[in-house]
Symmetry: C2
Subunit: 329 residues, 2 copies
């Protein structure tokens, strides 16, 4: 049997040769990596410049992904394809024109919001969610045109349902879990999960302890139970993995992810004043190199070979085949 395709739908590690080597150790064919949260257009350009340096210095381990076929090329050359994405719309500032500019720079996925209200819609930590803004609808139309994927992982419920309805192309929740597994607003309701599946979209299971039923103590069987229940709701073809691994990041980065430039009093996001740190890692996913343990868990849970293929990477690959293309192609 040929090795299974493996795609991780979200990571924000402290990128280094060591991490890229661990991606290879885990036989990851592609990873969606976060290139910005709160950065301005200019700051994202600097981050992309940094990725150009990575692609040059570590060309033996990683390569940029522009189309789904690039994932196959990465796989064939035993490298990991890097799909750049944004966890927030800050880098487009207030300009619709920057959608196609960043698409040309291989930014292929954009969350409509992080935790707060954005120029496009509402994040899940807001008390009010007014749905998509006028700019939000305009940007989704442009993202649909150029082939930039709409991601609503951190987006509030009404805004997420609005986005699914507004987008003419299937959207994703790259990294989140069902609220039935862990009742945080950061996770997704059955209503959202069903709407996403009906629209042809994809949800990646998060391995971030705050999104899991027993936090850092969540066992692999508990994780795969959650997968099985989600499959009953959405169908296996709409589910995948998005670990949300933030390996080697110092706590300052976590604080910045939560606070950006918007807060003068500390915001703890999913943490608290008592627990302001990164959560303890899962025993079965200490880092990128252990990505394959998810596969072992799914097999042990009794998923069929075809189902494990789909969940571990096949669904991402299938989805990306069309999603990365400009509309006119």
């Amino acid at each position: 049997m040929s090795e299974r395709l493996r795609i991780d739908g979200l990571q924000y590690c402290r990128w280094s040769r060591e991490i890229f080597e661990q991606m290879r150790a885990a036989r990851l064919d592609a990873v969606h990596v976060t290139a910005a949260y709160w950065e301005s257009a200019r700051e994202l350009m600097a981050n992309i410049g940094q990725w150009h340096r990575h692609f040059e210095a570590h060309a033996d381990l990683i390569m940029p992904v522009r189309s789904a076929a690039d994932i196959d090329r990465a796989r064939q050359s035993q490298r990991t394809g890097i799909i750049l994405g944004l966890q927030n719309c800050s880098p487009i500032e207030d300009s619709i024109d920057l959608v196609s500019v960043f698409k040309q720079l291989d930014v292929h996925i954009m969350q409509l919001s992080y935790n707060n209200q954005s120029l496009l819609c509402s994040g899940y930590l807001e008390s009010e969610d007014a749905g998509l803004s006028r700019f939000g609808r305009s940007v989704i139309r442009e993202m649909n045109r150029v082939g930039m994927i709409v991601d609503t992982s951190h987006t509030a419920e009404r805004s997420t349902l609005d986005a699914i309805a507004c987008s003419t192309r299937p959207t994703v929740i790259s990294h989140a879990n069902p609220q039935s597994a862990s009742a945080t607003e950061r996770n997704k309701s059955e209503r959202v999960m069903r709407a996403l599946a009906e629209s042809g979209g994809l949800m990646g299971f998060s391995c971030y302890p705050f999104h899991l039923p027993n936090g850092s103590k969540t066992t692999l069987p508990e994780f795969t139970d959650m997968v099985a229940r989600a499959v009953d709701v959405m169908g296996v073809e709409h589910l995948a993995i998005g670990t949300d691994l933030c390996q080697d990041q110092p706590v300052e980065v976590l604080t910045w992810m939560r606070n950006g430039n918007w807060a003068k009093t500390l915001d703890y996001g999913e943490g608290s004043a008592e627990q302001p740190h990164w959560p303890e890692p899962l025993s079965w996913l200490g880092g990128v190199s252990e990505f394959g343990n998810i596969e072992t868990g799914l097999e042990a849970r009794g998923f069929s070979r075809t189902e494990v293929d789909a969940l571990m990477g096949g669904n991402w690959r299938g989805y990306l085949e069309d999603a990365l293309k400009p509309k006119s192609d």
Copy 2:
């Protein structure tokens, strides 16, 4: 006889559907257009966004050029290929990383300086020319690597000679004339012309009246005489056209080109307080649509069919075949 390839090595018109239609009327297969002078990185992104709008709205007339083969595709589909370039290095700010970022955005040519000293070298209006800076050498190395063409049209003599020597790939003077035709520092000495030719580079003849022997009154035979004398110095294979047409631009744009954000007292560049305006256009090149008159003039001057082919576009096409490619290709 099939129609001759026509490439203009520099224009900075006030872009509009009318101008693009005139490019087609002139059967221009490709034009190097200026995307920025004094703009910051962020401002260039906005200009590139504006070009994305043009490419979308006028896809029947123009298309972006990423490789020399795109010029052939433009020609075959009766469109004009647009090659984006910069007349100054302002948009890379102080970051080497932005060279590859802008290359990915199809910025394929960059002048090392406009009229003033830049972070890379000296412009021709400075009284002192210290040659290439440390950053200048670093940027040329990176431009060579990614396939961004070094242009020294407005660059001072020593800096130009330094750049020709430093660059491992042939450079261009996209739009300037021999000093023997008009003794302005903006034009090029025989020393520069010979060094450029020896390095395999290309110079495009400017039709901007301030660069011509009799200003706006320069006749087409005077222009083609200048061409003939330059051919004797450099060889026909190193010469081409770069009209420097700035059609439909208001005088405010000229003032901004000259003054950017650097001067509080008006700088008149090649003009003067008495003549602060755009020069009167040439009688035989009132605008983009009359580009073909140059061809008529060259034929009348007695250049062979092969020579006219080379000058009108063949040399640009041949040069761009390699010049636009990243080094590793």
